[in-house]
């Protein structure tokens, strides 16, 4: 078997019944799984990634920049992660920054400010991305890098799962 094709259903089918499970396609093509007579749940989560880039949604990554990310997952039930890196390959200083922290009135990180069924809005903080010192002998203290440090271009990647 090389592919499974399911006709989308406008409503849930009859229960699978005791000792059985079923998978079906809902009206938006989302796949659902139901065990016995239990409540159907989405069977396969889907994922969208922007890849690392210096511009998203037509806006260049910068202090306080706002980026609308179109993911086309057809749901608002999503998790979102924002990653940063020093290069497009995502091979240097790759860091997850999907939260905001502050010290002395500074704002660091990224924040998700809006979501609809096909897009999310990512708001970058004013002061840059948070970093930490970790590893043997490191203190674990936090610090930050500006979004546009001299000689360092900040690449951002947004991953949406839902």
């Amino acid at each position: 078997m090389s592919a499974i094709i399911l006709a989308n259903q406008s409503s849930a089918p009859d229960d699978a019944g005791s000792g059985k499970a079923q998978i079906y396609a809902g009206d938006h093509g989302k796949l659902f799984q139901q065990a016995g007579s239990g409540a159907p749940v989405q069977a396969f989560l889907n994922k969208y990634s922007t890849g690392f880039a210096t511009s998203h949604g037509g806006v260049t990554v910068a202090a306080g920049s706002t980026h609308t990310i179109t993911h086309n997952l057809s749901t608002t039930d999503v998790t979102v992660s924002v990653w940063t890196a020093d290069d497009a390959a995502g091979s240097s200083s790759v860091t997850l920054v999907d939260a905001v922290q502050s010290e002395g009135g500074e704002s660091w990180g990224a924040y998700i400010t809006d979501v609809d069924i096909n897009s999310v809005v990512v708001q970058l903080s004013y002061h840059g991305r948070p970093m930490t010192s970790v590893g043997a002998g490191a203190s674990g203290a936090f610090y930050h890098n500006d979004w546009a440090q001299s000689g360092v271009t900040e690449y951002i990647k947004v991953v949406v799962i839902g």
Partner: protein, 156 residues
């Protein structure tokens, strides 16, 4: 039929067509979903389970933990959890980046080596932040009851 086995495909199959959806396996065994005009990646999940030695390293200030998830992608989301015991009693989610206040560095920090199969978790200097019932932030140092057991969940 009790099991569905898909043969990996070197190329995407023909579109399922209007009003239909299909699942197929790519040449590297990843399962993609295609419906209407969109082809979407499906995701996998990895959990370390509760452990006192995350990635073989005990939790302490600035400790670095390498988690091998074997999901074959860097497009992931990551959650770090702590609990009182190996059964996961009193679980609390540790945000990937936590606030710094009064010079306290709290929480967990996620980085990945350029590797599609692993990530690294670095712990903050002073412990895990927690929010009390009155909405104020406090913290518990690493290695105490409440932070002794950790779990990392990677989805991607």
């Amino acid at each position: 039929m009790s099991v569905i086995i898909l043969t990996n495909q070197p190329d995407a199959p023909d579109d399922a067509g209007s009003g239909k959806s299909q699942l197929y396996a790519t040449s590297d065994g990843k399962i993609l979903q295609q419906s209407d005009d969109a082809t979407l990646a499906t995701v996998g999940k990895y959990s370390t389970g509760w452990t006192t030695h995350l990635g073989g390293v005990s939790a302490t200030a600035g400790s670095l933990h390498t988690i091998t998830h074997n999901l074959g992608t860097t497009d992931t989301t990551v959650s770090v959890w702590t609990a009182d015991d190996a059964s996961g009693t009193n679980p609390k989610k540790v945000e990937q980046i936590q606030m710094v206040f009064n010079s306290y560095s709290l929480g967990a920090f996620v980085r990945y080596v350029p590797d599609i199969n692993s990530i690294r978790i670095g712990l903050g200097q002073h412990g895990r932040p927690e929010m009390s019932s009155d909405g104020l932030i406090n913290f518990t140092g690493w290695g105490h009851v409440g932070t002794r057991y950790l779990k990392v969940v990677v989805i991607g």
